[in-house]
């Protein structure tokens, strides 16, 4: 062979072992933060280490985390969906309307998920079909979807959800494990496998890093993105079912401002907001951290806005720390 003369060198698969990579990862940092917060909370309040209290605390983040999983994939693919909270409102409104028509729990669930899917499809079509930037499109649909709820509901509320519907937001699967928390764990596993262990997940990363090259490499970019927006829609629908069931009523202002909390959760979980990298374990840890922070501060009766300052600082410092650390190391080594 003509090229044999070029004496090919063998390239090792990896330079670092598995444990070295894990230790240096973002997740390792998050585990440290989460442990610190857990210890801090246990010391600060005698009520923290109580299984039932902890179980109650999970409701602070489970619904947002469901959406955050799907959002993580969307953000890794280089897009964003700011309309999720409005989808919750619209899906909840549709379910409330169905209750007025006398429909029962299975139908309500189907409607909640269905509206989520339809909203996701609208976003997906506008973004992949017309090639519009997702941040702007979803700012638009954010107003549109919630606006529709306002048109339907105005100053009214839908109540009177059937007894059996209450289970999704208030029921327990086993001991202190609520349905919502169980769903959260299940979805974490499903999304973790989907993103990290399947061809679909690889395509999501490829699109996030270089959409054009991914297209040339045979990745069906539009189809994958459309699926991602369907997924956030579906997850928002699911969250809407849980939240509506937990509240037992629907107002158009339901879940107001959640989109930014979901995005914060995803970014805190180490997903690059510019796309291309991030992991589901990171998002799970971020959800736990945010849940523990709000609950811990709540036990101390610290106003919510102080918690959000803390989350804001955490967000910036958790991202800034590795950068500063790397710089310091580089300076030392020189």
């Amino acid at each position: 062979m003509a090229h044999a003369q070029l004496s090919p060198r063998t390239i090792p698969d990896r330079l670092q072992g598995r444990s070295a990579r894990l230790l240096k990862s973002w997740e390792a940092l998050l585990v440290v933060v989460a442990t610190a917060i857990f210890l801090g909370n246990s010391l600060a309040s005698p009520y923290f280490l109580d299984p039932w209290n902890l179980s109650d605390a999970t409701f602070n983040f489970t619904e947002k985390a469901m959406i955050a999983f799907a959002m993580a994939l969307v953000i890794i693919s280089g897009e964003i969906d700011l309309s999720v909270a409005s989808i919750i409102a619209l899906a909840s409104t549709a379910m409330g309307y169905a209750v007025q028509l006398g429909l029962d729990t299975p139908a309500l669930v189907a409607i909640g998920l269905g509206v989520g899917l339809v909203c996701g499809a609208v976003n997906g079509l506008l973004i992949t079909g017309l090639g519009l930037p997702s941040i702007v499109v979803t700012i638009g649909t954010m107003s549109l979807f919630r606006g529709l709820s306002f048109i339907v509901l105005g100053d009214q509320a839908f109540t009177g959800y059937p007894e059996s519907f209450a289970w999704f937001g208030q029921g327990y699967v086993w001991w202190v494990f609520s349905f919502e928390f169980t769903l959260f764990v299940l979805l974490a596993v499903i999304y973790g496998v989907l993103l990290h262990k399947t061809n679909f997940g690889r395509a999501v990363y490829a699109i996030g890093n270089n959409q054009t090259a991914a297209l040339f490499s045979g990745v069906r970019v539009a189809r994958v993105k459309f699926a991602l927006f369907l997924m956030t829609g579906l997850m928002a629908g699911l969250a809407s079912i849980c939240l509506t069931s937990r509240l037992g009523s629907t107002r158009p202002s339901i879940a107001l401002g959640w989109e930014l909390e979901v995005v914060t959760m995803v970014v805190l979980g180490g997903v690059n907001i510019l796309g291309g990298s991030g992991t589901i374990p990171g998002v799970v840890l971020a959800a736990l951290i945010m849940g523990m922070v709000t609950f811990g501060f709540g036990l101390l009766n610290v106003p919510g806005i102080v918690m959000s300052i803390f989350i804001g600082l955490l967000l910036i410092s958790v991202i800034a720390l590795p950068i500063l650390w790397q710089r310091a190391r580089r300076r030392l080594s020189q």
Partner: protein, 503 residues
């Protein structure tokens, strides 16, 4: 002669890579120094140090007699160092004139930008660079070659004593290359020191006065061009001699594999008909902008043709997306490596396996061991230089990135492979490897379409050549009847023969 600028003992490391170690380079007024070296030898890195984009880890820069440092691109420009970089670094949304003067625009007496003077000065500079278009149009309305001319005009806008050109001719057509040569002559006459980086030896021997050779980040030789032969330079570059850059194998050409008939597109191309046979390397020659890439991309479903049909192994195919093309066995190695080829931010092995995931995975679930095996096989066949397979592709040099991209497509085991400018920006050693590989593939029964704007490559490698001009086929030639002159004439339309009768 006093040097215009001198670098001494410059070292530069990136995480995991020592790009330059203790290199020196001296440039003299009124002389052209060629900087040559394999891909990844550190040429562009040196350019970036010279223009203040990177800071060296150690070493000194001397302008005239004084030691200086270039902490920013602006400080280098102030010291009279200007460059045309390997990538076009311009602004699509701004006007041509503004692209030329951004950062040092003429101001009026209130300190505000003087648009009138700016446009007038820009027109004058464009003229000097051999371009004659309106400087007030937006850059994005220009073709790729004209953009390069703007980059050249920008370099001229600084009153420079040192002009650096990093592969300036890669995107230029025949005519424009000659205008560039003329420009270099004029700059020389003005007493500028010129650093010229190129992988094309004909070019180097034509315009350079001196040479400096880099290998693996060190300087391995310098001297006067008149004193060396090409073989010596090649040996210095790669550390051994390369017997043949065009190791074309004689292969028995088989039956038609791919038949394209009546392909047309409203604005890009029309009347494209040809056959590709088993084991054949079909060259597509044309000037830059002839529409070859556009047509090739329509074969894999990126652009939609308005009419036409293709048959693969006798079966009519409709291809609507690259995914379908890959499944059918037609793959396209794109021309724009950074944008369409490499997925920067992902590891080498994931780049290689992306189009082959359906083979390495099981029911949609990834299998890393298979992926590494596939990536190892193809990267080692192409002699990739990398620290490990999970290294980010973005940290490789341009040439090595190209190898990853080619490996990616070969790993799909295609029937037809379309290579669009496969050796653009590749050093001579790697070029030989790519060509050898291409021959090898053809010998194994693969059919190859090779789009190239380099006549030696076309002549050296093709069994048959199709020449395109302005979206149409302008000539067809068998290997036996190939001459450089025929190719150039057909491509430039000097022989205004309607196609069909020409072949």
């Amino acid at each position: 002669m006093k040097p215009a600028i001198a670098l001494e003992g410059i070292s530069k490391s990136f995480p995991g890579v020592r790009a330059l170690s203790e290199v020196s380079l001296t440039l003299y007024p009124g002389s052209v120094t060629a900087l040559i070296g394999e891909n990844g030898a550190g040429k562009s890195t040196l350019v970036k140090i010279l223009t203040g984009i990177y800071q060296p880890d150690s070493g000194v820069i001397r302008v005239g007699e004084t030691e200086t440092a270039f902490p920013t691109a602006l400080s280098a420009a102030r010291a009279g160092v200007t460059a045309i970089h390997q990538e076009t670094v311009l602004f699509d949304e701004l006007s041509v004139a503004e692209n030329i003067f951004l950062g040092h625009a003429p101001r009026n007496r209130f300190g505000l930008i003087d648009w009138k003077k700016l446009n007038a000065d820009a027109a004058a500079l464009l003229n000097r660079a051999g371009a004659d278009f309106d400087p007030t149009i937006r850059l994005r309305d220009l073709g790729i070659a004209r953009k390069h001319l703007v980059a050249i005009a920008r370099a001229l806008s600084v009153d420079a004593r040192v002009v650096i050109m990093d592969e300036p001719t890669a995107a230029l057509s025949h005519k424009e290359i000659h205008e560039l040569y003329a420009l270099i002559e004029r700059l020389k006459a003005d007493g500028k020191a010129i650093l010229f980086i190129s992988h094309k030896f004909d070019e180097i021997f034509r315009i350079a006065d001196r040479y400096t050779v880099f290998r693996d980040g060190t300087m391995v030789g310098e001297g006067v061009i008149a004193d060396v032969r090409q073989d010596d330079l090649v040996r210095m570059m790669v550390g051994r001699s390369v017997d043949s850059v065009y190791p074309k194998k004689e292969v028995g050409i088989g039956e038609p594999v791919l038949t394209v008939s009546g392909y047309r597109h409203p604005t890009e191309f029309e009347d494209i008909n040809f056959e590709l046979r088993r084991g054949e390397i079909l060259g597509f020659y044309g000037l830059v902008g002839a529409g070859r890439s556009e047509f090739m991309q329509s074969l894999i479903g990126i652009t939609r043709p308005s009419a036409g049909a293709i048959r693969l192994d006798g079966e009519v195919l409709v291809i609507r997306s690259p995914a379908e093309a890959i499944r059918a066995g037609i793959v396209y190695v794109p021309e724009e490596r950074g944008r369409q080829g490499a997925i920067i931010g992902m590891p080498i092995f994931q780049n290689v396996t992306l189009p082959s995931l359906s083979h390495t995975s099981r029911t949609g679930f990834l299998r890393l061991a298979n992926e590494f095996a596939l990536a190892r096989e193809y990267t080692s066949r192409l002699d990739l230089r990398a620290a490990s397979l999970d290294q980010d592709v973005g940290t490789l040099s341009g040439g090595n990135q190209q190898k990853v991209v080619i490996a990616k497509w070969l790993a799909t085991k295609p029937k037809v492979i379309i290579l669009d400018e496969p050796t653009k920006g590749i050093d001579i050693g790697s070029k030989a490897a790519v060509h050898a590989f291409m021959s090898e593939l053809a010998a194994q029964g693969l059919s190859v379409i090779m789009v190239s704007s380099e006549i030696p490559e076309i002549m050296g490698m093709s069994d048959r050549v199709i020449v395109m001009r302005e979206g149409r086929i302008a000539g067809r030639f068998e290997r036996s009847e190939l001459t450089a002159e025929k190719l150039v004439r057909a491509a430039a339309g000097i022989e205004a023969q309607p196609e069909g009768r020409a072949a």
